[in-house]
C-alpha cells in the first residue's frame, strides 16, 4: 500500500509538471501580445518582447579607440591579439569579453561583458494612438516625434457595443417567448416549426448571406445597426430557442396551473414567473450570444462593410492588419482593446459561460 501511494505521488508530480508546461505554452501567445502592446514602437521592431524578462546580455563596459591609421584590411591588434575586420563586425568572444565595433570609421571598439539585464521601456502611447481618432504624436528612436492619424478604435469600441448589446437582447427575448409557446402552449404547426429550428442549428450562415444582402440593399438596411441586429438575431435564434426550450420545459407544471388558477395571463406568467425563474439559463445563453456577436467578423464585414462610421472593432483590426501589417505597436494595442471586454466577461462569469457551453454544445 505504501509503495502504491508513493507511486501515485510520483505520477501526480509528473502530471503537474506536464500540465504546467502545457499551460505555459497556452498562455505565452497572449502574454506576448500584452507585453508588446506596452512597448515603444521602435523597441518592438528591434528586439523580441521576451527581452523584457531579465536575461544575460552583452553590455559595453569599456570603449577602445584604436589608432586612426589602423588598416582594416590587415589583422587588427586588440589587447595584444589580432582579429580580422569581419570578426569584429560580428563580434568576437575572448574569455568573458566580447569585442565589437561601435563605429568602424572612427575606429571605436566596444568591449562588452555579459550582465543580467532587461529592456524595461514601457509606454501607453500605443493605446493613445489606437484609441484616438485625431492626430497623435509618436516618439521616434532618435528622440524626435512624428505625427500620425489615430486609428479611431475608441469609436469602434462604442460601435461594437451598439451592435452587440441589442443583438444579444433581441434574439434572447424573441427566443424565450417562442420557447415558452413551444413548451406550454398547444397550436397547429408547433411540431414542424420546432423541427425546422433543430435542423437550422448547424446550418452554415453562408447559405443565407447573399439573399439577405440583396433584401437589405433594397430595404436600405445595409450598414445600419437595425440590419445587423436582425441578422445576428436570426442566426442566433435556433440555438437560443433550443436552449431556452430545454430550460423552460423543465419547470414544474404545477407552477403554471396554479398561476392560471389565480387568473394570470400567459403574458404575465411569462414576464413575472418564467423569466425570473430561468435567470441562470438566460445568463448562460446571453454570455454565449454576447461573446459570439462581439467576436464576430464575417457578419459585420458583410452587412456593415459599406459604412466606415459604424465599423466594429474586428473590422477595424482586420483593416489595420491589411494596411499596417508591420506596425506591431498599433496592432497589439488594438487587439488587446478588443479582448478586454470578452476577457472581463469570461473571468467574471466563467461559471455561466461553461454552463451555456455544456448546454449548447451537445447539439452543435
Amino acid at each position: 500500500m505504501a509503495k502504491r501511494r508513493s507511486k501515485l505521488k510520483k505520477s501526480k508530480w509528473l502530471v503537474n509538471a506536464v500540465l504546467a508546461v502545457i499551460c505555459l505554452v497556452w498562455s505565452i501567445p497572449t502574454i506576448g501580445l500584452l507585453v508588446s502592446s506596452f512597448r515603444p514602437a521602435a523597441d518592438i521592431l528591434q528586439s523580441g518582447w521576451w527581452n523584457v524578462l531579465p536575461h544575460r546580455e552583452w553590455q559595453t563596459v569599456e570603449q577602445l579607440t584604436l589608432p586612426r591609421d589602423t588598416d582594416l584590411r590587415e589583422p587588427i591588434d586588440v589587447k595584444g591579439q589580432t582579429y580580422t575586420d569581419d570578426q569584429l563586425r560580428a563580434g568576437v568572444t575572448v574569455g568573458d569579453e566580447r569585442y565589437i565595433w561601435e563605429n568602424r570609421r572612427a575606429r571605436l571598439l566596444n568591449v562588452q561583458e555579459k550582465h543580467w539585464g532587461a529592456i524595461t521601456n514601457f509606454t501607453t502611447q500605443n493605446y493613445e494612438a489606437v484609441l484616438g481618432g485625431k492626430e497623435y504624436k509618436i516618439a521616434l528612436p532618435d528622440g524626435g516625434t512624428k505625427t500620425e492619424k489615430g486609428s479611431g478604435m475608441g469609436q469602434s469600441f462604442w460601435n461594437t457595443m451598439a451592435v452587440t448589446v441589442p443583438a444579444t437582447v433581441i434574439p434572447i427575448l424573441i427566443a424565450s417567448f417562442a420557447a415558452y409557446a413551444f413548451a406550454w402552449l398547444r397550436f397547429p404547426g408547433r411540431r414542424s416549426i420546432f423541427v425546422i429550428i433543430i435542423a437550422l442549428l448547424v446550418v452554415p450562415i453562408q447559405v443565407a448571406l447573399i439573399p439577405i444582402l440583396k433584401d437589405y440593399t433594397s430595404l436600405g438596411l445595409n450598414g445600419t445597426y437595425a440590419g445587423i441586429w436582425l441578422a445576428h438575431a436570426a442566426f442566433g435564434l435556433p440555438l437560443i430557442t433550443y436552449f431556452m426550450y430545454n430550460a423552460i420545459s423543465q419547470l414544474p407544471k404545477d407552477l403554471f396551473e396554479s398561476a392560471f388558477m389565480d387568473g394570470a395571463t400567459n403574458f404575465t406568467i411569462f414576464s413575472r414567473l418564467i423569466l425570473p425563474l430561468t435567470v441562470p439559463a438566460l445568463a448562460s445563453i446571453s454570455i454565449f450570444q454576447f461573446l459570439w456577436v462581439w467576436n464576430d467578423y464575417l457578419v459585420s464585414l458583410i452587412f456593415l462593410g459599406s459604412q466606415p462610421e459604424v465599423q466594429v472593432m474586428s473590422m477595424k483590426i482586420a483593416n489595420l492588419v491589411g494596411s499596417r501589417g508591420n506596425d506591431w505597436h498599433l496592432l497589439t494595442a488594438a487587439a488587446f482593446i478588443s479582448m478586454l471586454t470578452p476577457l472581463a466577461v469570461f473571468f467574471a462569469l466563467q461559471k455561466y459561460f461553461v454552463r451555456g457551453l455544456l448546454g449548447g454544445s451537445v447539439k452543435g
Binding site: L19, I22, R190, V203, I210, P211, N266, L298, W328, P342
Partner: protein, 360 residues
Amino acid sequence: MELRAGKGNALRLLLLSVLVPVLNIGVHWLIFLFFRDSGLPPIANAVLAVLWGGLGIYSIYYSFNWLVEQYPDQWKRRLLPFVFVGPAALLLGWLLVLPTVRTLYLSFMNANSTEFVGFANFAAVFTDRLLVTALRNNLLWVVFGTLLCVGFGLLIAILADRSSFERVAKAIIFMPMAISFVAAGVIWKFIYYYQPEQEQIGLLNAIVVAFGGEPQAWLSMIQPWNNLFLIAILVWMQTGFAMVIFSAAIKSIPEDMLEAARVDGANEWTIFFKIMIPTISGTLLSVTTTIIVFTLKIFDVVMIMTGGQYETDVVATQFYRQLFMYQNTGYGSTLAIVLLIAVIPVIIVNLRQFRKEGGF
C-alpha cells in the same frame, strides 16, 4: 371578463387589429430613420440603440398581447401562441429558411443570376483549381483541426482532473475561447512574424534561430504545410471548448467504478481505453461533430492571417472572394450549398436524437 361580440365590439376589434400592427411598424420605422440620419456621437448612439433594441422588442410583444387580450376567449386561446412564436418564425423564415432556398436557386444560375446553367457551377467547384484548393484545405482543417482539438482536449481534461491546480489550468486553456479570431490572428501573426536579415522578433523564428536554424516565412512557406500553422490557431482556441466538456463528462464517471478496476489490477491505460472512452463516447461524438461543423465554416482566421493567399483558401473565404471580388453569385452560392451539403449528416443526427428523446 366575458365580452359580448356585439357589432360595436367587432368594429372596435377590427380597428385595433389594423391599428396595432400599423402603429408598430410606423413607430419603429421612424426610429430607424432617426438612427440612420442622426449622426449622433458614438456613445449616445450606442446608449439609445441599446434602449431601442431592448425596449422596442418588448413593446412589440406587449402591444400585440394587449390586442389579443381584447378578443373573445376562444379566439384569444387560438391567437396567443402565434403572438409568442410569430416573431421568431418570421425572422427565421425571412433570414434563414427562405435565403437557403434562394441560395440553392442561385447556385444553378450564372455569375450575375441571369441565366440558368444547371449543374455547371457544381462541376466548376470540383474542377476549377482555386475552388478545388479551397475544398482540399477545408478537408485539412476538418481532419487536423478536429483531431488535434479533441486529442489535446481529452489529454488536458484528464491531466487537469488529476493535478493540484485544476481550476487555474482549465481557466488558462479555456481563456482563448473568449477572444475573437481576429484578435487571435494578430497574436499569432506576431508569433509567426519573419523579418529577413534582421533580429527575429517573432517568437517561433527566434526559437528556430536560438537552436541554430534558419528563420522561415511560415505562412507562405512550403504549401500545403502552411495550412497547419493556421490550424494551430484553431487548436489553441478550441481545445478549451473540448476540454471543458470532456472534463464534465469524466467527472460524471462514478468513482467506485474506477476504483474497482484499480483494485482488480487494471493499469491507467486499461482504465482509459476500457472504461473512460466507452463511458464518454457520446460526449466524444458530439464534441467531434461540433468542431467538425465549426472547422467547415472557418473564415476569420484565414482572412486575417493570409487573406487566402499562398494556397490557404478555404470554402468560406473563397465564398467571400467569389461574391465580393469576382462578383460571381453563381460560384458563391454553390460554395455555400457545398457547405450546407457537408452538414446535412449532422442535421439528420440531430433530428434523430430529438425524436429519440421523445420530441414532443
